[in-house]
Amino acid sequence: MTLVRGLRRHWVALAMLSPSIILVGIFVYGFIGWSLRVSVSEWQGLRPDFTFAGLDNFVALLSDRRFQIDMRNTVVFTTFFVVGAVGLGLLLAILIDRRVPGETFFRNVFLFPLAISLIVTGVAWRWLMNPGSGERLTGLNLLFDIFGLNALISAWHTSDPPWGIAFVALPAVWQMSGFTMALFLGGLRAIPDELKEAARVDGAGEFQVYRRIIIPLLRPALLSALIILGHLSLKVFDLIVALSGKDLRLDVPAIYMWTTTFDAHNYARGASIGIYLLLSVAILVVPYLLWSLRRETEL
């Protein structure tokens, strides 16, 4: 009786889950397999060509000047974006956690950019970071000029490589710092006041309380932030497109994949870039996923 019932329960659940299993199976894993197949083919042009090419496309990309620039841009962007968003998020979280008056207002202001499309962000920042000079001085540069801060006037994202891409991190930090702030604030609020009090009683200064007690306890939040921001920055695409169109100096693998596939119809190369992107994200995310799952089942 129990066995039959157990079996029946099991089957209904599995049957109701199966549409999603099939969809994810095809659209995620099946399509990754298909991309892999295209990446080892010679498909260039509108007509599919599945002649086996081995790893030629992957090897060719490594010596492709544009792909090299893309990788350098990704590294520069990731560094500035992750450090900026983690640093600013942590600072804002610590300041808000002090129970300042108007806490809710500040929190909402720092979080609202998350509700906005990266395309909107890119369009707005394209004018804020406008590099025009003389008659066409505008945006932040104009603001600096008005306040006499001429030293800050900058070419922004049109600066010489590799610094142009570093400025792209500015709108990205603007958009994502609220997220890291929320993560850290959640972590800070979970730290019992007694712990901080005890440290103060033992003679620790305010700075030491942060350094020795609070920051170490934020490590899980920091890990989440690094994984989420890191994988987002490997995938960065919309923001750069909206900010600069297809400016090659700000090119990244996600944009290269898009243009080489859909403009130049070099499907084999496009698929190879897609697989490189997938690998870089997987290295970051898979251990995190497995770790989260194990931590959960341990409970």
Binding site: S20, F27, F31, S35, R99, S117, R189
Partner: protein, 297 residues
């Protein structure tokens, strides 16, 4: 909730991000004054792009000039918004016709999946869940070529149905995750006793899980609506100009040499408005979705 739970437990309880509960009222100490000054400076930084969009959008055409970007408008004029609406109106309509059904369908799938993966777990169900979750992180460039071929095959024409299908499928991981964590807060004893009373898989879902799911649906619907509204990559490769959602049309507007920047600013604000309003009115639910994406730290 005075005793802080370890993060993993908090996650299982689906604690709604305990940000909103300030335990004490704001204090006016010297340290806090310094903090206020710094926070205010950052408030300016965060509001600057919106200020620019509003300030430019509300000027009459005659007042618009790059050199006077930061001067306030001489009054409230809607010229720019009218021009932007003329350009983006149909695309705003497309975005609505896209985001609402896609969000609704993916939430329904997510609630069923979440119910099964939390209350009807079987051997291998955790592995399936993890396999789903991976789909949330993949760079979509790695599935883009097959996706475009597949959609062109089954739903040709570059219309909205293909894009809706893509959003529904790639929404499964996050909607399942949020609902699974949500239903995990439902005590197993409730499910057990309903089962003893003779309720089955569907009975428990229909009479116990679903009626308790309204906040869960609010979180997932808002999250999906926002993300689908804001999405760009799928939209640009899967739709033709007539079905372009607003993000694609706005990007096109911004890249155009003919459309003035003031109209672009008004257009950007129009494109942002629906999700901004949702955030302002229902921000609490939006935050929970946001934190679910971090798998709860």
């Amino acid at each position: 909730m005075t005793v802080p739970l370890p993060p993993a437990v908090a996650r299982r309880r689906f604690l709604p991000l305990r940000l909103p509960t300030a335990r004490r009222r704001g204090r006016w100490t010297l340290g806090n004054m310094v903090a206020l000054v710094i926070l205010s400076a950052f408030t300016v930084f965060f509001l600057l792009p919106v200020a620019l969009m509003l300030n430019t959008g509300l000027k009459p055409f005659a007042d618009v000039s790059l050199a006077r970007m930061w001067e306030l408008p001489s009054g409230i004029y809607l010229d720019n918004f009218q021009a932007a609406l003329a350009a983006l109106g149909p695309n705003l309509g497309n975005s609505i016709a896209l985001a609402i059904p896609a969000a609704a369908i993916s939430s329904m799938l997510g609630s069923m999946n979440g119910y099964i993966l939390s209350k009807w777990r079987f051997r291998g169900s955790d592995a399936i869940f993890t396999a789903f979750l991976f789909g949330m992180f993949i760079p979509y460039q790695s599935i883009l070529i097959p996706l475009v071929s597949f959609i062109n095959l089954v739903l040709p024409g570059g219309g909205l149905p293909g894009l809706i299908l893509a959003h529904v499928v790639y929404g499964i991981p996050v909607t399942t995750l949020i609902f699974r964590n949500y239903y995990a807060t439902l005590p197993n004893e409730v499910v057990e006793s309903a089962r003893i009373d003779g309720a089955g898989f569907f009975g428990i879902f229909r009479h116990i899980a679903l009626p308790l799911s309204i906040p869960g649906f609010a979180v997932v619907l808002i999250w999906q609506f926002t993300n689908i509204w804001n999405e760009f990559l799928f939209a640009i490769v899967l739709t033709r100009p007539g079905s372009w959602p607003v993000t694609v049309a706005l990007n096109n507007l911004a890249g155009s040499q003919i459309v003035e920047w003031n109209v672009q600013m008004a257009g950007a604000l129009l494109a942002a408005l629906p999700t901004l309003l949702v955030y302002i009115i229902l921000g609490r639910f939006f935050l929970r979705g946001l934190m679910a994406g971090a798998l709860k730290g």
